[in-house]
């Protein structure tokens, strides 16, 4: 297993300087994500304009994979409509779990997460924020746990 595949520069950068970190007051949607196994906590707030995510922020404490994944996700979904976010969710899920999934161009920087699938115990770290986003958009339960 190659550590460089897991901890790519994009991941390390987003871990050190998470984008869209914080919380939106008067948010239209919000959800908490928990990974009880490692104590990671994530709080996501979303402001919507109709179907479109106008703003999104996250805060919490987590490992490099979970922090970078959340940071990359906020960048990727900001300005997108719900339907497009769902599509992206499915693509990221495939990227994280299918052994030979090729990252298609539409994933952009999210493709940096492909190394995670070589480390099965870490997949939950990368997917926590996406499940939490589903919850914040009302697509799932209001609190998410990886267990």
């Amino acid at each position: 297993m190659d550590l460089k595949e897991l901890y790519r520069d994009v991941i390390l950068d987003h871990n050190r300087r998470p984008r869209n970190f914080g919380r939106i007051e008067a948010a239209d949607g919000q959800a908490e994500g928990n990974n009880p196994l490692c104590g990671d906590r994530l709080s996501l707030t979303v402001r919507l304009n109709g179907e479109r995510i106008e703003d999104i922020r996250f805060e919490g404490k987590g490992c490099a994979i979970s922090t970078a994944s959340a940071s990359l996700m906020t960048e990727a979904v900001k300005g997108k409509e719900r339907a497009a976010v769902r599509e992206l969710f499915d693509k990221v899920h495939t990227l994280l779990t299918q052994p030979d999934a090729a990252a298609d161009g539409s994933l952009g920087k999210l493709a940096a997460l492909s190394g995670v699938r070589e480390f099965p115990v870490r997949v939950k770290c990368a997917s926590l924020c996406w499940h939490t986003l589903n919850a914040a958009l009302g697509h799932g339960p209001p609190a998410v746990t990886t267990e």
């Binding site: 550590l3 901890y7 104590g39 990671d40 987590g62 480390f119």
Partner: protein, 417 residues
């Protein structure tokens, strides 16, 4: 246990290389590196004598216990009850009636919570624990509090991870009916001055349970000299199998307690009108027990005594001191839990690297440590941390293992810059 340290230091040194040859799993290669196993506080590995004892029992002696007149049933019963006597000697209990086989420490605590505390405690009564406890020594008492209306009190710790003795003493009162404490903290390695804590609790009429899961592998435990009313520990942290553990209880306490679970083996007679319960200790052992587990545990105790528990403790203390010194020198490493008296546990965090990432990086270097909250979330909250990395030592660890840990931590620093 703290009092044993000077004695332990004078014990003849352990031949760790010879010990390692007894543990076949240590020859495993992990991610291209020879395994460095530093997770014995979660579960230790088993030596050949334990593996052979289990195989021998399963191959030649297995049947159900206490049931048949046939030869194998007698052999199995002899092996199982022989294991009980082995345990009695190991912890110096007065009688085998005081040795109840359970699945592990967690079940031992739950048994006392449900069969001792729940029927006796009422609103206004208090259970006292410490802020160092494993979830297994918190949640069963919270359940009793919900069921009986009694109150849970928590004695605080200081920044070194030591129990605040004065606060503990002040929390004791005639309302305190039960005190439940870790003998050694699993998350930090702190050794509690349990003899003194027990004396103080007894002075207020409280009954004391000790969670000995992390103490028994590292020190000579004599339940009578400690004065513990209940003492419980797990086989798999003592180089024995999983699924077997021991609850020691003073005979008069166990005798006065109702059974916990009902079923076969715990009865003398059953009719639809009236059932009479079996004698101690079988009253608390409903159903077919973990016979091979008990046999394996007895073999593990033989093994530990053949090495000498003082020699093991001294060996681990040397490794702990070496690792503490080495990690203190590394930039960005902070040790969590710096009590004056510690067992073979080193909890730490690395600045800028989450423990979970550290765990993955160390694993790619073949070094197995535990990362997470160690089933002690209140301890993590006290230190303001989501998690730590924890290296823990056993009889088979070496100075070379400490060097590999230090090198792997250096690799983590490289990756994260």
């Amino acid at each position: 246990m703290a009092a044993n340290v000077p004695l332990a230091m004078s014990a003849p040194p352990l031949d760790a290389q010879a010990v390692r040859r007894e543990f076949p799993i240590l020859a495993t290669t992990v991610n291209g590196h020879p395994l460095v196993y530093l997770d014995s506080a979660a579960s230790s590995q088993r030596p050949l004598p334990v593996l052979r004892a289990i195989e021998d029992y399963e191959t030649h002696s297995h049947a159900n216990v206490h049931r048949g007149v046939h030869a194998l049933s007698q052999a199995a019963t002899a092996a199982f009850e022989g294991a009980r006597e082995r345990v009695r000697r190991f912890i110096n209990a007065r009688s085998v009636k005081e040795i109840v086989f359970v699945r592990g420490t967690t079940e031992g605590i739950n048994l006392v919570a449900q069969a001792y505390a729940r029927p006796r405690l009422r609103a206004g009564d208090e259970i006292l624990i410490s802020a160092l406890e494993h979830h297994a020594n918190i949640v069963p008492w919270q359940m009793v509090c919900e069921q009986s209306g009694c109150t849970l009190k928590v004695a605080p710790i200081n920044r070194r991870g030591e129990l605040e003795l004065d606060a503990y003493l002040q929390l004791l009162s005639r309302r305190t009916r039960l005190v439940a404490l870790a003998h050694v903290s699993n998350a930090l390695g702190t050794v509690l001055p349990v003899k003194r804590l027990i004396e103080a609790a007894h002075a207020h009429g409280a009954v004391v349970l000790l969670d000995g899961a992390q103490a028994v592998p590292h020190s000579h435990v004599d339940v009578r000299s400690l004065g513990a009313d209940f003492y419980t520990f797990s086989g798999h942290k003592l180089y024995g199998p999983t699924g077997i553990g021991v609850l020691y209880g003073r005979e008069e306490l166990l005798a006065a307690m109702p059974p916990w679970q009902g079923g076969g083996d715990m009865i003398l007679t059953v009719s639809f009108e009236k059932t009479t319960y079996n004698e101690l200790p079988w009253k608390f052992e409903a159903g077919t027990p973990n016979i091979s587990g008990a046999v394996g545990l007895a073999a593990a105790m033989d093994y530990v005594e053949s090495l000498g528990i003082d020699a093991i403790a001294a060996h681990e203390q040397r490794l702990l001191q070496l690792a503490t010194a080495e990690l203190t020198r590394l930039p960005g490493i902070e040790l969590i839990g710096t009590a004056a008296h510690k067992a073979a546990v080193l909890s730490f965090v690395m600045k800028g690297v989450h423990p979970h990432d550290l765990g993955t990086i160390l694993d790619t270097e073949g070094v197995a440590v535990r990362t997470g909250h160690h089933c002690a979330m209140p301890v993590m909250t006290f230190f303001g941390l989501p998690a730590t990395a924890r290296a823990s030592f056993g009889c088979y660890n070496t100075e070379g293992d400490v060097e590999r840990l230090v090198a792997a931590l250096g690799r983590a620093r490289e990756v994260f810059g």
